[in-house]
Amino acid sequence: MNIEDLHNLQNDPYNYALRLKKEGGKKVVGYFCSYTPEELIFAAGATPFRIFGTRSTINLADAHLQSYCCSPVRIALEEALSGKTTVLDGIVFPHTCDSIQRLSDIWRLNVPLPFHIDVVLPVKLNSESAREYMIDVLHKFMKELEKNLEVKITEEALRHAIALYNKIRESIKTISDMRLINPSLLKGSDFYSIVKSSMIMDRNDLAQILSHIIQDLGAKKETPDVTFRKRLVLTGAMCNHPDFYQIVEDGGGVVVWDDLCTGSRYFEGQLDSTGDPVISIAERYLHRIECPAKHSGLSTRAENLLDIVQNKNADGVVFLIHKFCDPHSFDYPYLKKHLDNERIPNTLIEMEDQASIGERLKTRFEAFLEMI
């Protein structure tokens, strides 16, 4: 597989899942959001498969969700109702925002799959009782997986999963670091395709592909990009617009880092491979920078964003927020204030999943790039 294949994978992930099942005899378990403890699904012998929308028109989901529900949730339901997800052996909903919470209910009542598991994680992450509950919920989830997939999750399997996930996350981070030094090595759209594919592919194949990509990038003899590029940080939930990176790069910018759940929030944070495996998984969630639907403190996200800007030597921040996304929209004014106080240029792009960026936003964004 090369990078082109990874792009194609995004266009039809369900076909890939079908092949995986047919050729590899593997079970495929669908999931939502980066709070799904993927390592446990992998340890249960199945391939964790994150649901991303592949279409932009909504018909069937309109009978279940109002127009003021965010597009990722509406599109996910559309995929399911149109039969795309029948390939899955089960589905896992971690608890995050109000919309995903209700999507889980609607899905459970309307989308027949062999199993449906809600992983009701704590919302608060910074207390002793929350830590205990997080560990308890992971154990509960493990038992439910064992029952539904009819397997026993052994300690050995857990340790193997942790080692593999550490390797995968470390590889993605290495690729990201290589891009930081020389952005011309790999296009933004390629990098984010790699990250998203990591949530879909057979993880053993993935680990190998990532190693190859690192080798290939290391072998490139290109001299570092000397043209002056404006270094941007993205913050929000996810970016499902490959053309967005093109717009950035055409405008003379480059995305050097992000605080996205289809970006650094997915690959940052190593699991402790020496201690209790379940506690290690819990600890990663407790210490990783949180999604705004969770709570780790009153200023954690602002501090994290300012640190990113400083450490990655960024010139500006782009808020990429889905329309009707409550948690991110509530955090926007306070994050913006922190950036403004430090005189860090920033702009807000409110978007719909899968829809094209639009000329108006494109022009506004180009003006922003020129300004900084």
Binding site: V120, S129, Y133, V137, K336
Partner: protein
């Protein structure tokens, strides 16, 4: 002065005056608290207020503030102010309007009294978490989060252990911030009063099972304020006891909430605060009385989980299993039981742009009710506080069409 219409006067609920008096005193005391040594805590409507009463802390409800803003038609203006502050128009209008009031002491009562601490229980939504984080930053006051795991299909033993632990962390938080120990004996008394208040509120709502119903959901929206804000005190018990008496007297005298009750409807979701009168009159013009609702019954719907002799240990489950913290199939069951109890023959659902946990899933609930009881339902898309999201002509047409269907059934 024009002569009063005796027909209308007869239908007015007399307890209203007493309610206004109690609520005014409550807000004046709260506003004067600064300097008296009494602490003020902001708390979410679904949060356990009883420990605050035990600690002699004045509870203040920003959601009640939102309702007042909506009822006094100040919503659109305040929501716009929040939008200037950077908050998207698609966010909850309770949160937006309250956030806009804080820095400039705006709103119907000139801003809420400043909090010494904030208590956020997320059993009603994820929005309160963000809202309270914003206010905790603004007022630089300590925030306690009571995290009640969502019950899609069950309240797990893991969740029970977690919530119970947090109740004791909550008490420790109060002890720290009030500088005095928690009085567990007083807790027993407050718990008993809370249960008694909830039982009486239940009894008041249940009088609507009588035909004609002595009160409507619009009346319930008004009288609800007490069980939300002063739960756990004697004043609530006395008030609802008197209100219950009045309702029973109305039943004896044959006084209904509307003159000729022919249709009995159920209201789902929060009220449209700036249009309650218009809606009430509109439905009354069709001889339709909204006899029940899912909103006001949320403050007595979990009584079955509470043991008043073991209040503190049993509210973990009660506060976690409230109407908005359960799966939509369980919500549909709840509605079906209200339909049966009150002999409801139509449903009016407010699809509330402000409230995703209440509104997303309504289409499926509507379908379940249609399948199980075969009664018609109407969905009105609007917003509880932001009048800009209310299109009168469209809503009126929809109500007219719905009532035509009701007449035909």
């Amino acid at each position: 002065m024009a002569e009063k219409d005796p027909e209308k006067e007869k239908r007015k609920i007399k307890a209203v005056a007493r309610m206004k008096e109690i609520m005014t005193t409550y807000y004046i005391e709260a506003k004067m608290a600064e300097g008296t040594g009494k602490k003020v805590a902001w708390i979410t409507s679904g949060g356990p207020v009883e420990p605050l009463i035990v600690m002699d802390v004045i509870p203040i409800y920003p959601e009640n503030h939102g309702a007042m803003i909506g009822a006094s038609k100040m919503g659109a203006d305040l929501c716009e102010k929040a939008e200037i502050m950077g908050f998207s128009r698609d966010l909850c209008s309770y949160a937006r309007s309250d956030i806009a009031c804080a820095p400039i002491n705006a709103g119907p009562i000139g801003g809420l009294p400043k909090p010494d601490m904030l208590i956020c229980c997320n059993n009603i939504c994820g929005t309160v978490l963000k809202w309270y984080e914003i206010q905790a930053r603004h007022f630089n006051a300590p925030l306690f989060i009571l995290d009640t795991p969502f019950c899609h299909t069950e309240f797990s033993k893991e969740a029970k252990k977690y919530v119970l632990k947090q109740l004791y962390e909550y008490i420790a938080f109060l002890e720290r911030n009030c500088g005095k120990p928690f009085d567990y004996d007083k807790m027993k008394e407050v718990g008993r009063l809370s249960v008694e208040g909830q039982r009486l509120w239940r009894a008041v709502l249940d009088t609507a099972a009588h035909k004609p119903s002595p009160l409507s959901a619009f009346d319930a929206f008004f009288h609800l304020a007490m069980i939300v804000t002063l739960r756990g005190t004697q004043v609530v018990v006395d008030y609802y006891a008197a209100l219950l008496n009045e309702m029973n007297e109305r039943i004896t005298a044959g006084i209904g909430a509307i003159p000729n009750e022919r249709y009995r409807l159920l209201w789902d979701n929060l009220p449209i605060w700036y249009r309650t009168k218009w809606l009430s009159e509109k439905f009354a013009s069709y001889d339709a009385c909204l006899v029940a609702d899912t909103y006001t019954s949320a403050w007595c719907g979990v009584l079955k989980y509470i043991d008043e002799n073991d209040f503190l240990n049993t509210i973990a489950e009660a506060y976690s299993r409230i109407y908005l913290n359960i799966g939509i199939d369980q919500m549909a069951d709840e509605i079906l039981s209200i339909v049966d109890r009150y002999d409801v023959n139509g449903i009016v659902m407010h699809s509330n742009r402000s409230c995703k946990p209440y509104s997303l899933g309504q289409y499926d609930i509507q379908k379940i009710i249609r399948e199980k009881r075969g009664i018609p339902s109407l969905i009105i898309e609007a917003d509880m506080v932001d009048e800009r999201s209310f299109t009168e002509s469209q809503i009126e047409t929809r109500i007219d069409a719905f009532m035509e269907v009701m007449r035909g059934t």
